[in-house]
Symmetry: C2
Subunit: 343 residues, 2 copies
Amino acid sequence: MPAPDIHLLSVGTALPGPPVDNATLVRRLKVPAVWEQWIDTFIGTHNRHFAVDLETGAVHTTLTDLGVSASTRALAAAGLDSGDIDFIVLGTASPEMLMPTTVNMIADRLGIDNVPTYQLQSGCTGAIQALDVAQAMLTAGPARTALVIGADSCAKHIDLSLNFESMQPSEQVNGVLFGDGAGAAVLSTRPARNSAVIRQVYLRLVGMNREPGQSIEWYGRADRNSDRPAVSEDYKAIEESVPKMAVEVLHEVLDHLDWDESDVDYLLPPQLSGRMTARIRDALELPRAQEVSCVAETGNTGNALPFLQLERALPRMSAGDRALAIAIESSKWIKAGIALEKV
Amino acid sequence: MPAPDIHLLSVGTALPGPPVDNATLVRRLKVPAVWEQWIDTFIGTHNRHFAVDLETGAVHTTLTDLGVSASTRALAAAGLDSGDIDFIVLGTASPEMLMPTTVNMIADRLGIDNVPTYQLQSGCTGAIQALDVAQAMLTAGPARTALVIGADSCAKHIDLSLNFESMQPSEQVNGVLFGDGAGAAVLSTRPARNSAVIRQVYLRLVGMNREPGQSIEWYGRADRNSDRPAVSEDYKAIEESVPKMAVEVLHEVLDHLDWDESDVDYLLPPQLSGRMTARIRDALELPRAQEVSCVAETGNTGNALPFLQLERALPRMSAGDRALAIAIESSKWIKAGIALEKV
C-alpha cells in the first residue's frame, strides 16, 4: 500500500489585542522619537500584537488562550470537532510553564482527551517541525487526523521597567522585532474540498561549528538573579546567513520534487522582519510567484508565522497551484521548507 | 510493502558526579537529621546524582554534557558513528536555554549535522514520547536510523540558599525526589545482533478536567521576581492516581498486542520514587515478570529514566523475551508504555 497523501484541510490563527504601531511602541519603550523612523526604515515592521497590556504590564491573553482560539478556528474551518482529532503537536519557543506543557492545557480547553500530544521546543522553523512530526505520524498510521499548532508570546520577556536606550543593540533589536500570536492547522489522510496536499517537508539542522545567531534564556529559582541577557541576537550574522540559507532550501525542495522555479505559484518567505523578508524574496528570484507575507503587520510571531501566511495563501490557490513556504531558524541555524499543492 | 520493524539497537546513559546519599542530602539541605530516615522509609530513594556541586552550587555537568555522554555510549554500543544518524529526538523538562535548543547543542558536539532534529518539552513520559516520534519517522521513511535522547537536570531549580524546613510539603518533596541524568538509544529499521523490536508505543493524555499533579515554572526577564513557587507537587493525587493509571497501561498494551500477563518477562515500572515504584509493581500483579528498576539509586531522573531501565534490561533478555516499560506523567496526566521483544 503506498503512503497516503497528507492533506492540509484548514488553518486558523489568533492575534492578541489591538495592533501596536511603531509610534506607540517607541513611546512606551521611552526611546527617542527618531526610533519610529528607524524601525520603519531598517526593520520594516509597522505593527505587532502583544499578549501584554503595554500600559499596565498585565498579561491579557495567555499562550493557551491564543492556541485555543487558533485551534477552534482551524477545527471550524475543517468542519471537524474535538472528537475527530487523533493527536496534537504544538511548536513554541515560549511555553507558559515547563510543566504541564501548554499543548496539554490547550487540549483540556478544547475538550480533546485520550490521545497522544507532543510539544516541540522550537523557534522560527517550529511550525514546519510540528507539521513534519504530524506528517510522519499520519503516514505511519493508524492516526488519521492531526491538530498542529504554533504559538509564541513574549509576555515573560517584556520588562517595561528596563531602559531600552542603554541596552546593547543585540538586546534592543528584540524590542521591535517580535509580536505574539498563534496559528493552527488540521491535517488528515482524508481529502476535503479545498484542501492542499503536502508534497514535501524539508528540515535540516546546519549549525555545526557555528555560533548561535539568537539566544533566549529562561531563569530558574536558583539562577534568576543572573546577569545573563534574556534575549540576544547577532543581527549581522542573521542578515548575512538567512538569505543564503533560504536560497538553499528553495533549490533543495525544487530538486527533490522535480519542480522548477516557474512551478512555484505562491512563495511564503521567512518573516524575520519586513525588510529582511523583502531582501530574501529578492534573493530567491522567483519572479512569477506571488509573495504571501504578514510580518509588516504582525511582527515576527515565531512558531505562528507560517500558519499566518498559509491562512492568507490557501483561499487564493486554485486546483493545481503550488506553494512553497520557507523558514529559517537562526538560533542554531536550521533550514526548513514545506511544499503544498492544491488538488 | 508492510511497515518495517523498528529495532532498538543499543542504549547508553550518563549520571553526573558521585552518588549523593540521604545523609549527605539532609546535611546539605540543613534539615533535621530525622529526615534521613523519613526519606529512606517514605520515599525509598537512597542515592541520586546532581549536575551541581552541592558545596559550591556550581554546575559541573551541563544537560548538553549529559546528553553527549549518553549518546556517545549508545552510538558506540551500536557500532555506529555520527554520520549514520538520520535524525535526533530529545525529550527534556529542563532545557538549558529556550533557544538554541539543547538537542542542537548536543548534535554540534557529536558532529551530527544536516539532519532534522526535534526537542520535546516533556516530563516523566518524555522518553516514550521521544521514542514514539522516532518510531513514526522511521516507519514513514526515508530515515532509517535515529538517535533518541532523554535528559534532565535540576540545576536551575536547586537553590541551596533556601530554607527547606520552612517550605510547604508540596515544595519540600522536590528536594528529595529528583536526580540528574541522561539516556540515549539508537533505533533503526535494520536489525542488529542483540537488538529488540519495538512492538508498541502507547501514549495517551488523560488530563481533561483534572488539576495538574505537578507544576514546574520558568521565569523570564519580566517575571523573575514573582512569588510563584518554582516546583510543586500534589503528592497525594500522584500516590492515588499513578498506580491505577499504570494498571490501565498494562491492560491496554496487552490487549492491543494480544499478550497475556504471563508473556511479560521483564517489567520496567514507573520510577517516581523507590516506595511508589514498589506500590505500582504490586498493583500490576505480574508475578512472573522480573522487575527492572533504578530509582532507589538514581532518584527520579525524568526523561532519562526509561533509558536507565532499558540499559539494565536489554543484556538480560534472551531471544523471545518480552519487556514492558510503563511511565506516567503527573503534571497533566499522561499514560505511556513501550513493549519490546528480543528477536
